[in-house]
């Protein structure tokens, strides 16, 4: 089947990274991950628990609105886990095990910047701020990254500001900080990457249909690891496309591709 769009391919690729024991949650402007959570839960990972907006436990929303921190997502929840103190307790203790990040900039070790472009004191662009990135990058063991703009402005050799921790300076940096886990994969509009088990540098795992390895390498502002023959990303199945359009009938996921 060829009737799928890039947002649907990204959602399906991200969903594949979510096993059945996932207990995930989402922050602001997270339309692609939220759709991926809903897809995974409706298909291969029925045991997945999603805490919508970090508030509504295991909800059954009919649509995804303009905000992924809004009550549109909370219908049918088993609980409104409504205090910050409760949420952070479960995030710190490891009960909540999966979170997805995106940044205006990302580097080879999966660190992200959502604070400023340029210098902090005289920014060229003042971004919204790191929010929970600096926290959850340290506290949550399974980090997944996504970006709808795979280009050298987003994937940079050096971040203007490290708002959220991925693999830090690489190697055993996280372990030296006493932190568990780290980024597992990065899904973009061009490719799926993972991280080298030793160096923790970003590595090309698959390229999307119609995208060449050279294209991805050129679109990446740091030296992307390429090992051997790189396979093509598996496109979404008919069933996945159907479910995506069912769980996100108003195409909220496409907001990230404006």
């Amino acid at each position: 089947m060829s009737d799928w769009t890039i947002d649907e391919l990204m959602v399906a690729a991200l969903a594949r990274e979510l096993p059945d024991d996932t207990v995930c949650f989402n922050g602001a402007v997270s339309f692609v991950p939220v759709t991926a959570f809903l897809l995974a839960r409706a298909t291969h990972a029925p045991g997945l628990i999603w805490v919508a907006s970090s508030i509504a436990v295991d909800p059954r929303p009919e649509r995804i609105g303009e905000s992924t921190l809004s009550d549109a997502l909370w219908d049918g929840a088993a609980m409104l886990q409504s205090s910050a103190a409760d949420f952070w307790a479960y995030a710190q203790s490891g009960r909540l095990n999966t979170f997805c990040f995106r940044g205006a900039q990302m580097d080879a070790y999966g660190n992200v910047n959502n604070t400023v472009i340029g210098s902090y004191d005289a920014p060229k662009i003042r971004l919204p701020g790191g929010g929970g990135m600096a926290d959850l990058g340290c506290q949550v063991p399974r980090i997944l990254l996504w970006s709808t703009t795979h280009d050298p402005r987003t994937f940079v050799a050096k971040l203007d500001f490290r708002s959220g921790l991925g693999w830090g300076d690489g190697g055993d940096h996280r372990a030296r900080l006493g932190l568990e886990g780290g980024p597992r994969a990065c899904v973009t509009n061009l490719a799926v990457m993972d991280f080298h088990p030793e160096s923790k540098r970003m590595r090309l795992r698959s390229v999307h249909p119609g995208v060449s390895v050279d294209q991805v390498v050129e679109a990446t502002g740091f030296d992307l690891l390429v090992e051997g023959d790189v396979p093509e990303t598996e496109p979404p199945t008919d069933e996945q496309v159907r479910v995506i359009r069912e769980v996100d009938p108003t195409d909220a996921r496409k907001r990230e591709f404006a």
Binding site: E66, A85, G130, D135
Partner: protein, 281 residues
């Protein structure tokens, strides 16, 4: 007038906040923010506020647009799916406000340290990032001598005043979220020296006594109560009304042009704009 207790009129709300105050404003992004209260601060022309807003958008943008803010202490400021907060962005880029960025959890830790009366709260959050170095006197890395574990220390941050919005309150200050996204609000309430609650409705104390398990904040922790129907607009007051998406869209459209924005702001918010340089540097 008997029975008024802690009740203050909305029109007198701004008098509760002096210029230069360290003020924490509740709410979460597009949700349940004390917007009517913020509008009063704008109209009163408050200046030099040190604003604590963990995850906010419109409230912070109004206060910055009107020149009320000297320093913003925050985790994140945006309109989410409705885009970047335009006046926040412009002022930060022009250097007309100081932005002290924390992360959500480190900011909560700083508030909790104030609540507990200890100099700092330890956390793993923020380790390995550039955030602690932005304010090394407020957040710094430490190693526990006994376990060898590294952690970030977050210095106590005690707001002089916290203001939050709830569904119902009484003259004694008892407040009920009905039900409500509590999120950061109770952390602000616990940490602050003085607490102001704006409420959709003032109800009789007997209603609280009839269902005390539903009271969210005890009256003894609240100093002032203000009746503010639709007081969260244009943010949501779930489940009573949703956020006003059209307002966010119109606001963003107006913000592209300084004259259009001045007219829009005067009509919908009131007060004077700060005359910010409209050209981001």
């Amino acid at each position: 007038m008997p029975g008024q207790g802690k009740i203050v009129a909305l029109s007198e709300a701004a008098e509760l906040v002096p210029d230069g105050a360290l003020l924490a404003v509740g709410g979460l992004s597009l949700n349940c923010t004390p917007m009517s209260f913020c509008r009063e601060l704008v109209r009163a022309g408050r200046r030099d506020l040190e604003l604590v807003a963990v995850v906010s958008g419109m409230s912070t943008d109004w206060l910055i647009a009107a020149g009320c803010v000297r320093k913003l202490i925050m985790g994140l400021t945006s309109f989410e799916g409705f885009g970047l907060a335009p006046n926040f962005r412009r002022a930060a880029q022009a250097g007309t406000i100081e932005v002290e960025e924390y992360s959500e959890h480190t900011l909560i830790c700083a508030l909790q340290a104030a609540t507990a009366g200890v100099p700092f709260m330890p956390t793993r959050a923020g380790l390995g990032t550039d955030m602690p170095a932005l304010h090394p006197d407020r957040t710094w890395e430490m190693v526990d001598e006994r376990s060898g574990q590294r952690f970030l220390a977050c210095a106590a941050l005690q707001p002089e005043i916290a203001v939050i919005h709830v569904h119902e309150a009484d003259a004694d200050g008892n407040a009920r979220m009905n039900p409500k996204l509590v999120w950061f609000d109770t952390e602000l309430v616990k940490a602050a020296k003085r607490v102001i609650v704006t409420a959709e409705r003032i109800i009789d104390n007997a209603e609280f006594r009839a269902a005390p398990e539903r009271t969210s904040i005890p009256g003894y922790a609240v100093d002032h109560v203000i009746e503010a129907p639709r007081g969260a607009w244009p943010t949501a007051c779930w489940p009573e009304y949703p956020y006003d998406g059209q307002f966010y869209i119109d606001y963003q459209r107006a913000a592209r042009d300084p004259e259009a924005f001045a007219a829009f702001f005067a009509e919908h918010v009131g007060g004077q704009l700060a005359g910010l340089d409209p050209t981001p540097r």
